[in-house]
Protein backbone atom coordinates (compact mmCIF):
# COMPACT_ATOMS: atom_id res chain seq x y z
CA UNK A 1 0.00 0.00 0.00
CA UNK A 2 1.19 3.43 -0.76
CA UNK A 3 1.31 5.78 2.15
CA UNK A 4 0.63 9.44 2.08
CA UNK A 5 3.36 11.91 2.84
CA UNK A 6 1.27 13.41 5.58
CA UNK A 7 0.40 10.37 7.66
CA UNK A 8 2.88 10.72 10.49
CA UNK A 9 2.74 14.14 12.12
CA UNK A 10 5.99 13.52 14.00
CA UNK A 11 7.77 13.50 10.65
CA UNK A 12 6.37 16.73 9.38
CA UNK A 13 9.53 18.51 10.42
CA UNK A 14 8.51 21.69 8.74
CA UNK A 15 11.26 24.23 8.48
CA UNK A 16 9.98 27.41 9.94
CA UNK A 17 11.94 30.63 9.54
CA UNK A 18 11.53 31.12 13.26
CA UNK A 19 12.94 27.67 13.90
CA UNK A 20 16.61 27.48 14.92
CA UNK A 21 17.01 24.63 12.44
CA UNK A 22 16.23 27.00 9.63
CA UNK A 23 19.31 26.98 7.43
CA UNK A 24 19.56 30.70 6.82
CA UNK A 25 23.02 30.88 8.29
CA UNK A 26 24.23 27.41 7.47
CA UNK A 27 23.07 26.94 3.91
CA UNK A 28 26.66 26.80 2.70
CA UNK A 29 27.39 23.94 5.10
CA UNK A 30 24.38 22.01 3.82
CA UNK A 31 25.58 22.39 0.24
CA UNK A 32 29.06 21.31 1.38
CA UNK A 33 27.49 18.29 3.10
CA UNK A 34 25.85 17.32 -0.18
CA UNK A 35 29.07 17.68 -2.17
CA UNK A 36 30.98 15.61 0.36
CA UNK A 37 28.33 12.90 -0.03
CA UNK A 38 29.04 12.86 -3.76
CA UNK A 39 32.78 12.73 -3.12
CA UNK A 40 32.38 9.71 -0.84
CA UNK A 41 31.67 7.59 -3.88
CA UNK A 42 35.16 8.34 -5.17
CA UNK A 43 36.93 8.43 -1.84
CA UNK A 44 38.99 5.33 -2.48
CA UNK A 45 40.23 6.26 -5.94
CA UNK A 46 40.60 9.86 -4.91
CA UNK A 47 42.76 8.94 -1.91
CA UNK A 48 44.78 6.45 -3.92
CA UNK A 49 45.53 9.22 -6.39
CA UNK A 50 46.29 11.74 -3.65
CA UNK A 51 48.97 9.41 -2.25
CA UNK A 52 50.06 7.67 -5.43
CA UNK A 53 50.72 10.79 -7.50
CA UNK A 54 53.17 12.38 -5.04
CA UNK A 55 54.88 9.05 -4.60
CA UNK A 56 55.49 8.73 -8.33
CA UNK A 57 56.42 12.37 -8.89
CA UNK A 58 58.86 12.46 -5.99
CA UNK A 59 60.44 9.19 -7.07
CA UNK A 60 60.75 10.11 -10.73
CA UNK A 61 61.63 13.77 -10.50
CA UNK A 62 62.92 14.27 -6.98
CA UNK A 63 64.98 11.12 -6.73
CA UNK A 64 65.49 10.06 -10.35
CA UNK A 65 66.03 13.39 -12.05
CA UNK A 66 67.43 14.80 -8.81
CA UNK A 67 70.36 12.39 -8.94
CA UNK A 68 71.45 14.01 -12.20
CA UNK A 69 70.80 17.57 -11.03
CA UNK A 70 72.64 17.09 -7.77
CA UNK A 71 75.60 15.30 -9.42
CA UNK A 72 77.53 18.46 -9.94
CA UNK A 73 77.24 19.33 -6.26
CA UNK A 74 74.43 21.41 -4.79
CA UNK A 75 74.06 24.55 -6.80
CA UNK A 76 73.54 28.01 -5.40
CA UNK A 77 70.60 28.41 -7.79
CA UNK A 78 68.68 25.90 -5.68
CA UNK A 79 69.68 27.69 -2.46
CA UNK A 80 71.93 24.81 -1.60
CA UNK A 81 69.24 22.20 -1.10
CA UNK A 82 68.86 18.92 -2.92
CA UNK A 83 66.68 18.89 -6.04
CA UNK A 84 64.20 16.71 -4.18
CA UNK A 85 63.91 19.31 -1.41
CA UNK A 86 63.67 22.03 -4.01
CA UNK A 87 60.74 20.61 -5.96
CA UNK A 88 58.79 18.82 -3.20
CA UNK A 89 56.99 21.93 -1.85
CA UNK A 90 56.30 23.11 -5.41
CA UNK A 91 54.83 19.74 -6.39
CA UNK A 92 52.54 19.88 -3.40
CA UNK A 93 51.31 23.34 -4.33
CA UNK A 94 50.89 22.36 -7.99
CA UNK A 95 48.78 19.36 -6.98
CA UNK A 96 46.49 21.54 -4.87
CA UNK A 97 46.10 24.00 -7.74
CA UNK A 98 45.23 21.18 -10.09
CA UNK A 99 42.69 19.68 -7.70
CA UNK A 100 41.02 23.04 -7.16
CA UNK A 101 40.93 24.00 -10.82
CA UNK A 102 39.64 20.57 -11.81
CA UNK A 103 36.80 20.65 -9.30
CA UNK A 104 35.89 24.21 -10.25
CA UNK A 105 35.68 23.36 -13.95
CA UNK A 106 33.57 20.55 -15.42
CA UNK A 107 32.10 19.18 -12.18
CA UNK A 108 30.92 22.64 -11.14
CA UNK A 109 29.88 23.65 -14.65
CA UNK A 110 27.86 20.43 -14.98
CA UNK A 111 25.79 21.40 -11.95
CA UNK A 112 24.66 24.43 -13.92
CA UNK A 113 24.55 23.04 -17.40
CA UNK A 114 23.79 19.34 -17.63
CA UNK A 115 22.66 18.16 -14.23
CA UNK A 116 21.04 21.51 -13.34
CA UNK A 117 21.55 20.66 -9.69
CA UNK A 118 22.11 24.27 -8.65
CA UNK A 119 18.62 25.16 -9.89
CA UNK A 120 17.22 22.42 -7.74
CA UNK A 121 19.00 23.79 -4.70
CA UNK A 122 18.04 27.38 -5.41
CA UNK A 123 14.35 26.39 -5.24
CA UNK A 124 14.91 25.68 -1.52
CA UNK A 125 15.68 28.26 1.19
CA UNK A 126 19.36 28.05 0.17
CA UNK A 127 20.52 31.21 -1.63
CA UNK A 128 22.81 31.33 -4.68
CA UNK A 129 25.52 32.89 -2.54
CA UNK A 130 25.30 29.99 -0.11
CA UNK A 131 25.55 27.59 -3.03
CA UNK A 132 28.73 29.35 -4.15
CA UNK A 133 30.11 29.27 -0.60
CA UNK A 134 29.28 25.58 -0.29
CA UNK A 135 31.27 24.95 -3.45
CA UNK A 136 34.20 26.92 -2.04
CA UNK A 137 34.12 24.97 1.21
CA UNK A 138 34.17 21.79 -0.81
CA UNK A 139 37.18 22.89 -2.91
CA UNK A 140 38.95 23.86 0.32
CA UNK A 141 38.23 20.44 1.81
CA UNK A 142 39.53 18.67 -1.27
CA UNK A 143 42.68 20.80 -1.50
CA UNK A 144 43.45 20.66 2.21
CA UNK A 145 43.10 16.89 2.48
CA UNK A 146 45.07 16.43 -0.74
CA UNK A 147 47.81 18.73 0.49
CA UNK A 148 47.93 17.01 3.88
CA UNK A 149 48.39 13.61 2.23
CA UNK A 150 51.00 15.11 -0.09
CA UNK A 151 52.81 16.56 2.90
CA UNK A 152 52.94 13.15 4.58
CA UNK A 153 54.52 11.64 1.48
CA UNK A 154 57.00 14.53 1.19
CA UNK A 155 57.86 14.09 4.87
CA UNK A 156 58.37 10.36 4.31
CA UNK A 157 60.93 11.28 1.65
CA UNK A 158 62.61 13.53 4.23
CA UNK A 159 62.02 16.58 2.04
CA UNK A 160 59.62 18.53 4.26
CA UNK A 161 62.30 20.56 6.00
CA UNK A 162 61.76 21.87 9.48
CA UNK A 163 58.49 21.19 11.40
CA UNK A 164 57.16 24.56 10.28
CA UNK A 165 57.15 23.04 6.80
CA UNK A 166 53.70 21.70 7.68
CA UNK A 167 52.45 25.20 6.82
CA UNK A 168 52.84 24.23 3.18
CA UNK A 169 49.49 22.44 3.52
CA UNK A 170 47.85 25.81 4.10
CA UNK A 171 49.95 27.43 1.40
CA UNK A 172 48.90 24.80 -1.13
CA UNK A 173 45.25 25.22 -0.17
CA UNK A 174 45.37 29.01 -0.45
CA UNK A 175 47.20 28.91 -3.78
CA UNK A 176 44.70 26.38 -5.07
CA UNK A 177 41.83 28.57 -3.94
CA UNK A 178 43.26 31.67 -5.60
CA UNK A 179 43.19 29.79 -8.92
CA UNK A 180 40.03 27.73 -8.42
CA UNK A 181 37.78 30.70 -7.69
CA UNK A 182 38.51 32.15 -11.11
CA UNK A 183 37.70 28.88 -12.83
CA UNK A 184 34.52 28.85 -10.75
CA UNK A 185 33.70 32.29 -12.16
CA UNK A 186 34.09 30.84 -15.66
CA UNK A 187 31.85 27.89 -14.74
CA UNK A 188 29.09 30.20 -13.57
CA UNK A 189 29.37 32.35 -16.69
CA UNK A 190 29.85 29.88 -19.56
CA UNK A 191 26.80 28.93 -21.61
CA UNK A 192 28.35 26.58 -24.17
CA UNK A 193 29.63 23.06 -23.77
CA UNK A 194 32.63 23.87 -21.61
CA UNK A 195 35.30 23.94 -24.31
CA UNK A 196 36.84 26.94 -22.58
CA UNK A 197 38.12 24.68 -19.81
CA UNK A 198 40.34 22.82 -22.26
CA UNK A 199 41.79 26.17 -23.29
CA UNK A 200 42.37 27.08 -19.64
CA UNK A 201 44.08 23.78 -18.90
CA UNK A 202 46.26 23.81 -22.02
CA UNK A 203 47.19 27.44 -22.20
CA UNK A 204 47.08 28.51 -18.58
CA UNK A 205 47.48 25.59 -16.19
CA UNK A 206 50.20 23.67 -18.03
CA UNK A 207 52.45 26.68 -18.86
CA UNK A 208 51.91 27.97 -15.33
CA UNK A 209 52.97 24.64 -13.87
CA UNK A 210 56.09 24.52 -16.04
CA UNK A 211 57.29 28.10 -15.70
CA UNK A 212 56.49 29.12 -12.13
CA UNK A 213 59.76 28.16 -10.57
CA UNK A 214 58.49 24.70 -9.71
CA UNK A 215 61.18 22.71 -11.46
CA UNK A 216 63.86 25.39 -11.87
CA UNK A 217 64.25 28.87 -10.37
CA UNK A 218 62.70 31.61 -12.48
CA UNK A 219 66.06 33.36 -12.45
CA UNK A 220 66.84 30.93 -15.27
CA UNK A 221 64.09 32.51 -17.36
CA UNK A 222 64.97 35.37 -19.72
CA UNK A 223 63.92 38.70 -18.26
CA UNK A 224 61.34 39.32 -20.97
CA UNK A 225 59.18 36.42 -19.79
CA UNK A 226 60.06 36.46 -16.13
CA UNK A 227 57.25 38.89 -15.36
CA UNK A 228 54.80 36.19 -16.44
CA UNK A 229 56.07 34.06 -13.59
CA UNK A 230 55.61 36.98 -11.21
CA UNK A 231 51.94 37.08 -12.18
CA UNK A 232 51.55 33.37 -11.65
CA UNK A 233 49.84 32.47 -8.35
CA UNK A 234 51.74 29.22 -8.46
CA UNK A 235 55.10 31.03 -8.30
CA UNK A 236 53.98 32.95 -5.23
CA UNK A 237 52.71 29.73 -3.70
CA UNK A 238 55.99 27.96 -4.47
CA UNK A 239 58.04 30.69 -2.87
CA UNK A 240 55.82 30.70 0.18
CA UNK A 241 55.90 26.91 0.56
CA UNK A 242 59.70 26.92 0.28
CA UNK A 243 59.91 29.68 2.84
CA UNK A 244 57.91 27.44 5.19
CA UNK A 245 60.49 24.68 4.88
CA UNK A 246 63.16 27.20 5.82
CA UNK A 247 65.23 26.71 2.69
CA UNK A 248 64.51 30.01 1.09
CA UNK A 249 62.97 33.41 1.43
CA UNK A 250 62.53 36.07 4.05
CA UNK A 251 59.62 37.58 5.93
CA UNK A 252 58.96 40.65 3.75
CA UNK A 253 58.86 38.71 0.50
CA UNK A 254 56.76 35.98 2.13
CA UNK A 255 54.31 38.59 3.23
CA UNK A 256 54.14 39.89 -0.33
CA UNK A 257 53.44 36.44 -1.73
CA UNK A 258 50.76 35.86 0.87
CA UNK A 259 49.12 39.21 0.16
CA UNK A 260 49.09 38.53 -3.57
CA UNK A 261 47.44 35.11 -3.16
CA UNK A 262 44.96 36.38 -0.58
CA UNK A 263 43.96 39.28 -2.82
CA UNK A 264 43.40 36.95 -5.79
CA UNK A 265 41.29 34.66 -3.61
CA UNK A 266 39.24 37.36 -1.90
CA UNK A 267 38.39 39.21 -5.11
CA UNK A 268 37.70 35.89 -6.84
CA UNK A 269 35.28 34.79 -4.11
CA UNK A 270 33.38 38.06 -4.40
CA UNK A 271 33.15 37.80 -8.18
CA UNK A 272 32.15 34.12 -8.03
CA UNK A 273 29.32 34.84 -5.58
CA UNK A 274 28.03 37.58 -7.86
CA UNK A 275 28.23 35.27 -10.86
CA UNK A 276 26.25 32.57 -9.07
CA UNK A 277 23.56 35.09 -8.21
CA UNK A 278 23.40 36.41 -11.76
CA UNK A 279 23.15 32.92 -13.19
CA UNK A 280 20.58 31.50 -10.79
CA UNK A 281 18.33 34.52 -10.23
CA UNK A 282 16.89 35.59 -13.58
Amino acid sequence: MSGSPFTDPSLTARSDPGDPRFPADRGALLVWEYLIRGWRRYLLSSTAEAVGAPLLYLLAMGVGLGTLVDRGGRTAALQGVSYLQFIAPALLVAAAVQTGMNEASYPTFARFKWQRIFWGISATPITPRQIADGQLLYYLTRMATGSALYYLVVAAFGAAGRPLGVVMIAVGTLTGLSCAVWVMVVSATLRGEGGAFNVIFRFVLIPMTLFSGSFFPIAQLPLVVRWLAWLSPLWHGNQLARAATGTHGDWPSSFGHLAYLAALAVVGVAVARRRFEKRLVV
Partner: protein
Amino acid sequence: MISARGLRKAFTVKNGTLVEAVRGIDLDVPRGEAFGFLGPNGAGKSTTMRMIACVSPRTSGELSILGLDPAADGVRIRARLGVVPQQDNLDEELSVRENLYIYGRYFGIAKAACWAKADELLDFAQLVDKAKTKVETLSGGMKRRLTIARSLMNDPELLLLDEPTTGLDPQARHVLWDRLFRLKQQGVTLILTTHYMDEAEQLCDRLVVMDGGLIVAEGSPAELISRYSTREVLELRFDVRQETTAQDTVAGLAERVEVLPDRLLLYGDDGERMLTEALRRGATPISTLVRRSTLEDVFLRLTGRSLAD
Protein backbone atom coordinates in the same frame (compact mmCIF):
# COMPACT_ATOMS: atom_id res chain seq x y z
CA MET B 1 -2.19 31.76 -1.12
CA ILE B 2 -1.15 33.67 -4.20
CA SER B 3 -2.23 37.07 -5.31
CA ALA B 4 -0.84 39.12 -8.16
CA ARG B 5 -1.78 42.50 -9.61
CA GLY B 6 -0.30 43.81 -12.82
CA LEU B 7 2.56 41.33 -12.56
CA ARG B 8 5.23 41.92 -15.20
CA LYS B 9 8.53 40.40 -16.17
CA ALA B 10 10.87 41.73 -18.81
CA PHE B 11 14.27 40.37 -19.81
CA THR B 12 17.04 42.12 -21.64
CA VAL B 13 18.29 39.70 -24.26
CA LYS B 14 21.73 39.60 -25.83
CA ASN B 15 21.39 42.34 -28.42
CA GLY B 16 20.00 44.70 -25.82
CA THR B 17 16.33 44.50 -26.73
CA LEU B 18 13.75 44.15 -24.00
CA VAL B 19 11.54 41.08 -24.12
CA GLU B 20 8.34 41.17 -22.11
CA ALA B 21 7.64 37.60 -21.07
CA VAL B 22 4.78 38.48 -18.73
CA ARG B 23 2.90 41.68 -19.53
CA GLY B 24 0.70 42.44 -16.57
CA ILE B 25 -1.39 39.63 -15.11
CA ASP B 26 -3.76 39.42 -12.14
CA LEU B 27 -4.13 36.21 -10.15
CA ASP B 28 -5.87 35.03 -7.01
CA VAL B 29 -5.43 31.46 -5.89
CA PRO B 30 -7.08 30.44 -2.63
CA ARG B 31 -5.74 27.73 -0.32
CA GLY B 32 -6.50 24.17 -1.37
CA GLU B 33 -7.21 24.95 -5.00
CA ALA B 34 -5.67 23.18 -7.96
CA PHE B 35 -4.88 25.97 -10.37
CA GLY B 36 -3.55 25.58 -13.89
CA PHE B 37 -1.68 27.71 -16.37
CA LEU B 38 -2.40 26.72 -19.95
CA GLY B 39 -0.80 28.20 -22.98
CA PRO B 40 1.46 27.56 -25.94
CA ASN B 41 5.22 27.59 -25.62
CA GLY B 42 6.50 31.07 -24.91
CA ALA B 43 3.19 32.24 -23.40
CA GLY B 44 4.87 33.22 -20.13
CA LYS B 45 3.72 30.27 -18.00
CA SER B 46 7.14 29.18 -16.81
CA THR B 47 8.27 32.75 -16.20
CA THR B 48 5.22 33.29 -14.01
CA MET B 49 5.95 30.06 -12.19
CA ARG B 50 9.53 31.15 -11.53
CA MET B 51 8.30 34.43 -10.07
CA ILE B 52 5.90 32.53 -7.81
CA ALA B 53 8.74 30.18 -6.84
CA CYS B 54 10.76 33.23 -5.70
CA VAL B 55 13.71 32.52 -7.97
CA SER B 56 12.95 35.27 -10.47
CA PRO B 57 12.41 38.84 -9.29
CA ARG B 58 9.42 40.59 -10.85
CA THR B 59 9.98 43.63 -13.00
CA SER B 60 6.88 45.43 -11.72
CA GLY B 61 3.45 44.87 -10.25
CA GLU B 62 2.41 43.30 -6.98
CA LEU B 63 2.94 39.73 -5.94
CA SER B 64 2.16 38.07 -2.65
CA ILE B 65 2.84 34.41 -1.89
CA LEU B 66 1.58 32.93 1.40
CA GLY B 67 0.98 36.50 2.47
CA LEU B 68 4.64 37.45 1.97
CA ASP B 69 6.47 39.50 -0.63
CA PRO B 70 8.96 37.43 -2.66
CA ALA B 71 11.24 40.44 -3.06
CA ALA B 72 11.72 40.68 0.71
CA ASP B 73 10.99 37.19 2.01
CA GLY B 74 12.08 34.83 -0.76
CA VAL B 75 13.90 32.52 1.63
CA ARG B 76 10.96 32.26 4.04
CA ILE B 77 8.53 31.60 1.21
CA ARG B 78 10.73 29.00 -0.43
CA ALA B 79 10.89 27.15 2.88
CA ARG B 80 7.15 26.48 2.51
CA LEU B 81 7.02 25.69 -1.22
CA GLY B 82 7.50 22.50 -3.17
CA VAL B 83 8.85 22.88 -6.69
CA VAL B 84 8.75 20.37 -9.53
CA PRO B 85 10.80 21.91 -12.34
CA GLN B 86 10.18 21.36 -16.03
CA GLN B 87 13.51 19.56 -16.40
CA ASP B 88 14.54 17.08 -13.72
CA ASN B 89 17.56 18.19 -11.74
CA LEU B 90 18.18 15.15 -9.60
CA ASP B 91 21.68 14.00 -8.71
CA GLU B 92 22.00 11.07 -11.09
CA GLU B 93 25.00 9.61 -9.29
CA LEU B 94 23.34 9.38 -5.91
CA SER B 95 20.71 6.83 -4.98
CA VAL B 96 16.98 7.52 -5.05
CA ARG B 97 16.85 7.63 -1.26
CA GLU B 98 19.89 9.88 -0.97
CA ASN B 99 18.34 12.36 -3.40
CA LEU B 100 15.36 12.72 -1.11
CA TYR B 101 17.57 12.95 1.95
CA ILE B 102 19.88 15.68 0.70
CA TYR B 103 16.97 17.75 -0.52
CA GLY B 104 15.30 17.62 2.86
CA ARG B 105 18.53 18.78 4.45
CA TYR B 106 18.35 22.02 2.46
CA PHE B 107 15.22 22.87 4.43
CA GLY B 108 17.06 22.45 7.69
CA ILE B 109 15.32 19.19 8.56
CA ALA B 110 17.31 17.06 11.02
CA LYS B 111 19.15 14.06 9.58
CA ALA B 112 17.07 11.32 11.22
CA ALA B 113 13.82 13.04 10.27
CA CYS B 114 15.10 13.38 6.69
CA TRP B 115 15.73 9.65 6.34
CA ALA B 116 12.34 8.85 7.84
CA LYS B 117 10.58 11.30 5.55
CA ALA B 118 12.50 9.92 2.59
CA ASP B 119 11.26 6.41 3.35
CA GLU B 120 7.71 7.62 3.70
CA LEU B 121 7.86 9.41 0.36
CA LEU B 122 9.48 6.44 -1.38
CA ASP B 123 6.32 4.59 -0.50
CA PHE B 124 4.13 7.44 -1.75
CA ALA B 125 6.04 7.58 -5.05
CA GLN B 126 6.02 3.78 -5.43
CA LEU B 127 9.80 3.70 -5.48
CA VAL B 128 10.50 1.54 -2.43
CA ASP B 129 12.10 -1.15 -4.59
CA LYS B 130 14.38 1.45 -6.14
CA ALA B 131 15.50 3.11 -2.90
CA LYS B 132 19.14 2.13 -3.28
CA THR B 133 19.26 2.43 -7.08
CA LYS B 134 21.29 5.16 -8.72
CA VAL B 135 18.99 7.73 -10.28
CA GLU B 136 20.64 7.52 -13.71
CA THR B 137 19.17 4.05 -14.26
CA LEU B 138 15.56 5.10 -13.59
CA SER B 139 12.94 5.51 -16.32
CA GLY B 140 11.56 8.96 -17.13
CA GLY B 141 8.35 8.28 -15.22
CA MET B 142 10.25 7.13 -12.14
CA LYS B 143 12.46 10.21 -12.21
CA ARG B 144 9.38 12.38 -12.41
CA ARG B 145 7.80 10.60 -9.45
CA LEU B 146 11.05 11.01 -7.54
CA THR B 147 11.13 14.72 -8.36
CA ILE B 148 7.58 15.08 -7.06
CA ALA B 149 8.43 13.08 -3.94
CA ARG B 150 11.46 15.32 -3.44
CA SER B 151 9.32 18.42 -3.63
CA LEU B 152 7.27 17.08 -0.71
CA MET B 153 10.20 16.64 1.68
CA ASN B 154 9.33 19.86 3.51
CA ASP B 155 5.55 19.23 3.54
CA PRO B 156 4.90 22.24 1.32
CA GLU B 157 1.71 24.24 1.62
CA LEU B 158 1.97 25.15 -2.03
CA LEU B 159 3.22 22.81 -4.73
CA LEU B 160 4.41 24.24 -8.06
CA LEU B 161 4.54 21.83 -10.98
CA ASP B 162 5.96 23.00 -14.29
CA GLU B 163 4.77 20.60 -16.99
CA PRO B 164 4.78 17.64 -14.62
CA THR B 165 4.00 14.95 -17.20
CA THR B 166 5.60 16.21 -20.41
CA GLY B 167 7.46 13.41 -22.14
CA LEU B 168 5.89 10.56 -20.18
CA ASP B 169 3.98 7.58 -21.52
CA PRO B 170 0.22 7.33 -20.77
CA GLN B 171 0.69 4.84 -17.92
CA ALA B 172 3.25 7.01 -16.18
CA ARG B 173 1.02 10.06 -16.60
CA HIS B 174 -1.94 8.34 -14.99
CA VAL B 175 0.14 7.21 -12.03
CA LEU B 176 1.35 10.80 -11.57
CA TRP B 177 -2.15 12.22 -11.83
CA ASP B 178 -3.25 9.76 -9.18
CA ARG B 179 -0.48 10.96 -6.84
CA LEU B 180 -1.27 14.61 -7.49
CA PHE B 181 -4.95 14.00 -6.91
CA ARG B 182 -4.16 12.51 -3.51
CA LEU B 183 -2.14 15.57 -2.59
CA LYS B 184 -5.01 17.78 -3.61
CA GLN B 185 -7.36 15.77 -1.42
CA GLN B 186 -4.98 16.32 1.47
CA GLY B 187 -5.38 20.04 1.04
CA VAL B 188 -2.14 20.94 -0.73
CA THR B 189 -2.56 23.90 -3.06
CA LEU B 190 -1.39 22.85 -6.52
CA ILE B 191 -0.22 25.21 -9.22
CA LEU B 192 0.65 23.61 -12.50
CA THR B 193 1.49 24.51 -16.03
CA THR B 194 0.68 22.16 -18.83
CA HIS B 195 -0.13 22.04 -22.46
CA TYR B 196 -2.06 18.85 -22.12
CA MET B 197 -5.75 19.68 -22.02
CA ASP B 198 -6.70 16.32 -20.55
CA GLU B 199 -4.29 16.99 -17.72
CA ALA B 200 -5.85 20.35 -17.05
CA GLU B 201 -9.37 18.87 -17.10
CA GLN B 202 -8.31 16.05 -14.77
CA LEU B 203 -6.51 18.09 -12.19
CA CYS B 204 -7.52 21.74 -12.22
CA ASP B 205 -10.39 23.34 -10.33
CA ARG B 206 -9.67 26.55 -12.15
CA LEU B 207 -7.30 27.63 -14.82
CA VAL B 208 -6.11 30.51 -16.89
CA VAL B 209 -5.13 30.44 -20.53
CA MET B 210 -2.05 32.53 -21.22
CA ASP B 211 -0.94 33.78 -24.59
CA GLY B 212 1.76 36.30 -25.40
CA GLY B 213 2.40 37.12 -21.74
CA LEU B 214 -1.24 37.88 -20.94
CA ILE B 215 -4.14 35.99 -19.44
CA VAL B 216 -6.70 35.58 -22.21
CA ALA B 217 -9.29 33.51 -20.32
CA GLU B 218 -9.98 32.33 -16.83
CA GLY B 219 -12.44 29.91 -15.22
CA SER B 220 -13.15 26.28 -14.37
CA PRO B 221 -12.76 23.83 -17.26
CA ALA B 222 -16.56 23.59 -17.61
CA GLU B 223 -16.99 27.37 -17.55
CA LEU B 224 -14.33 27.87 -20.18
CA ILE B 225 -15.93 25.28 -22.44
CA SER B 226 -19.37 26.81 -22.13
CA ARG B 227 -18.01 30.32 -22.62
CA TYR B 228 -15.63 29.75 -25.50
CA SER B 229 -17.00 26.68 -27.21
CA THR B 230 -20.31 24.94 -27.84
CA ARG B 231 -21.71 21.87 -26.17
CA GLU B 232 -20.89 19.53 -29.02
CA VAL B 233 -18.62 19.29 -32.00
CA LEU B 234 -19.27 17.51 -35.27
CA GLU B 235 -16.13 16.42 -37.07
CA LEU B 236 -16.47 15.66 -40.78
CA ARG B 237 -13.47 14.09 -42.48
CA PHE B 238 -13.10 14.49 -46.24
CA ASP B 239 -10.80 13.46 -49.01
CA VAL B 240 -8.06 15.97 -49.58
CA ARG B 241 -9.33 19.35 -50.79
CA GLN B 242 -12.99 18.35 -50.82
CA GLU B 243 -13.45 20.15 -47.50
CA THR B 244 -13.59 23.52 -49.29
CA THR B 245 -16.60 22.57 -51.38
CA ALA B 246 -18.18 20.89 -48.36
CA GLN B 247 -17.74 24.16 -46.51
CA ASP B 248 -20.42 25.72 -48.71
CA THR B 249 -22.72 22.74 -48.21
CA VAL B 250 -22.74 23.04 -44.42
CA ALA B 251 -22.84 26.83 -44.34
CA GLY B 252 -25.20 28.12 -41.63
CA LEU B 253 -25.57 24.74 -39.93
CA ALA B 254 -23.31 25.49 -36.97
CA GLU B 255 -22.52 28.41 -34.72
CA ARG B 256 -18.95 28.23 -35.95
CA VAL B 257 -17.08 26.17 -38.52
CA GLU B 258 -13.40 25.54 -38.40
CA VAL B 259 -11.58 24.35 -41.52
CA LEU B 260 -8.61 22.01 -41.14
CA PRO B 261 -6.62 20.45 -44.02
CA ASP B 262 -8.73 17.29 -44.09
CA ARG B 263 -11.64 18.10 -41.81
CA LEU B 264 -14.43 20.47 -40.96
CA LEU B 265 -15.24 21.08 -37.30
CA LEU B 266 -18.84 22.21 -36.76
CA TYR B 267 -19.49 23.74 -33.36
CA GLY B 268 -23.13 23.58 -32.18
CA ASP B 269 -25.43 22.35 -29.44
CA ASP B 270 -26.67 19.22 -31.16
CA GLY B 271 -24.09 17.28 -33.13
CA GLU B 272 -26.44 14.57 -34.36
CA ARG B 273 -28.85 17.09 -35.81
CA MET B 274 -26.03 18.93 -37.60
CA LEU B 275 -24.88 15.59 -39.00
CA THR B 276 -28.33 14.61 -40.27
CA GLU B 277 -28.79 17.99 -41.89
CA ALA B 278 -25.31 17.97 -43.48
CA LEU B 279 -25.94 14.56 -45.02
CA ARG B 280 -29.38 15.66 -46.22
CA ARG B 281 -27.75 18.59 -47.97
CA GLY B 282 -25.50 16.16 -49.80
CA ALA B 283 -22.20 16.31 -47.94
CA THR B 284 -20.09 13.20 -48.53
CA PRO B 285 -17.65 12.84 -45.66
CA ILE B 286 -15.52 9.69 -45.50
CA SER B 287 -16.01 9.58 -41.74
CA THR B 288 -17.92 11.49 -39.09
CA LEU B 289 -17.64 11.97 -35.34
CA VAL B 290 -19.92 13.68 -32.86
CA ARG B 291 -18.22 14.53 -29.60
CA ARG B 292 -18.46 16.92 -26.68
CA SER B 293 -16.42 20.07 -26.66
CA THR B 294 -13.16 19.83 -24.74
CA LEU B 295 -10.68 22.31 -23.35
CA GLU B 296 -8.63 21.65 -26.45
CA ASP B 297 -11.31 23.35 -28.53
CA VAL B 298 -11.23 26.30 -26.16
CA PHE B 299 -7.47 26.41 -26.23
CA LEU B 300 -7.17 26.31 -30.00
CA ARG B 301 -9.84 28.93 -30.39
CA LEU B 302 -8.12 31.26 -27.95
CA THR B 303 -4.51 30.77 -28.95
CA GLY B 304 -4.88 29.89 -32.61
CA ARG B 305 -3.65 26.93 -34.59
CA SER B 306 -0.36 28.31 -35.83
CA LEU B 307 2.82 27.19 -34.13
CA ALA B 308 4.16 29.47 -31.44
CA ASP B 309 7.78 28.61 -32.09
